[in-house]
Amino acid sequence: MSAVKKTIVVEQLKRAQMNELLVKGKRLDGRGLLDRRDLTVVTNVIEKAEGSARVTLGNTEVIAGVKVNMGTPFPDTPDKGLLVVSAEVLPLASPYAEPGPPDERTIELARVTDRGVRESGMIDVSKLVLVPGKHVYAVFVDVSILNVDGNLFDAVSAATVAAILSTRIPKYEVPAEGGAPVKTDQKMPLPVQTIPVAVTMAKIGEHLIVDPTSEEEAVMDTRITFVSDDRGNICAGQKGLPGSLTLDQVIFAARTAKLKGEEARLILKQGVGSV
């Protein structure tokens, strides 16, 4: 039996075992289907960055840093500051990660995280303008994944949000006589309006489970993420991987994401406040 065939057989056995448990409402690590793993948040871990946060979600560990520059707005949004979210799975994070430019999965991860922050209106980018069309604050959030054990979407989202909450940017002022803005010694927080939280569910067989581990992701059929804000809105969503969901599962997932997002939002607030 070839190594590949053996792998397929092993995977099928694992799926069967997991399904047996899920039918009973249990998971390999003892959690219930909708239980999240422990989430820890520590901010201001990188003093050189304007904001930063280290987040663990079970054994998944990520670090996010925020850097802020002066930038030029896009021509079609002269009255909005810039926000760029990037992610990298560091090669030290997993035996399967490889150095190099981000692959499609990491691009998806960064873009969904970016949309959660952007579409929720977390940062009021209209307040990041110094001279419309010319000088705006440019906020770069870079997230490095340090250890992979499933559910990067929620961990990266939480680190991004916590780093933004912890950010203190240098205040710039436009000289009275005009010209380029000048950095002052004053600091100010980013103009935050809401705290978006991503909640990801894996579908294994007919079960939806919250916050899958790597082991669970290895056998999941599909994955769905919803980001909700603190005003009762869903503001971003993404189904990933082959596989499909029933109409009811989509509605259930959206509702669950809002519910579970509330819990995580509290932890995020505490984590930021605790610094």
Partner: protein, 250 residues
């Protein structure tokens, strides 16, 4: 999405009609042609509003390099690409991060409908080229790709039909076009396998409360079902119109 600002009230007038005269639950005009490219094993062309999109399928075929072949099913590959002249401002032909993400979710939206297990150790390539883009190009591209896969004779469980719903001027509407996408408050593109009501694509940008989400999701599903009818008609038109009876699968 331009939720934050934008005078979006004028997007729906007092008669409840949208900028292009559509009702809130009305699709843009759609035209689907099958088998339009000579060299491809299967192909389709779709016009969806101002979207003009070609899809082509090559395969099942040999995989290079060989070690990337899968032992138990076909390797499905997918490229969504916008022509440089397809957009308002010329688009750099190199694939953007957006195109890379869409290529991924498009592949994942099509795969559940394909019986890839019938073609182990082969590859099936799906190429979607947006010649002119309007709102909803990813949905139109998926719908065209699914027809092209059928035209290529790939064994399928169902077609995949895609359509978006959104929120514009405070109202939930189906099939968001370019202006509505830019000025509106939310866009919810989905794809389904209509026979089994299975959702294979779902993305969401923008803010929807519970009620709005449910309504928009339902609108999008209904939109998919209309697209499905047009897909079937196009396929029947090609095969039966020419008095050829298509074999099931290949």
């Amino acid at each position: 999405m331009g939720k934050a600002g934008g005078d979006s009230r004028s997007l729906i007038n007092e008669q409840g009609l949208r900028i292009d005269g559509r009702k809130i639950d009305e699709l843009r005009p759609v035209k689907i042609e099958v088998g339009i490219l000579r060299n491809a094993d299967g192909s389709a062309y779709i016009e969806f509003g101002k979207n003009k999109i070609m899809a082509a399928v090559y395969g099942p075929k040999e995989v290079h390099p060989k070690h990337s072949a899968l032992p138990d099913k076909a390797l499905l590959r997918c490229r969504y690409h916008m022509s440089p002249f397809s957009t308002e401002e010329r688009k750099n032909p190199a694939p953007s991060r957006r195109e890379i993400e869409i290529s991924k979710v498009m592949r994942e939206a099509l795969e559940p409908a394909l019986m890839l297990e019938d073609y182990p150790r082969t590859a099936i390539d799906v190429f979607v080229e947006v010649l002119q883009s309007d709102g909803g190009s990813r949905c139109a591209g998926i719908s065209a790709a699914s027809v092209a896969l059928a035209d290529a004779g790939i064994n399928m469980r169902d077609l995949v039909a895609a359509c978006a719903a959104g929120k514009v001027a405070g109202q939930v509407v189906v099939d968001v076009d370019d202006i509505e996408d830019k000025e509106g408050q939310a866009d919810l593109p989905i794809a389904i396998m209509p026979s089994s009501n299975q959702v294979t694509l779902l993305q969401l940008d923008g803010q929807l409360n519970d009620e709005e989400f449910n309504k928009a999701f339902n609108f999008a599903v209904q939109g998919c079902k209309q697209v499905y009818q047009l897909q079937r008609e196009a396929l029947i038109g090609k095969y039966f119109g020419r008095s050829e009876v298509p074999e099931g699968g290949q």
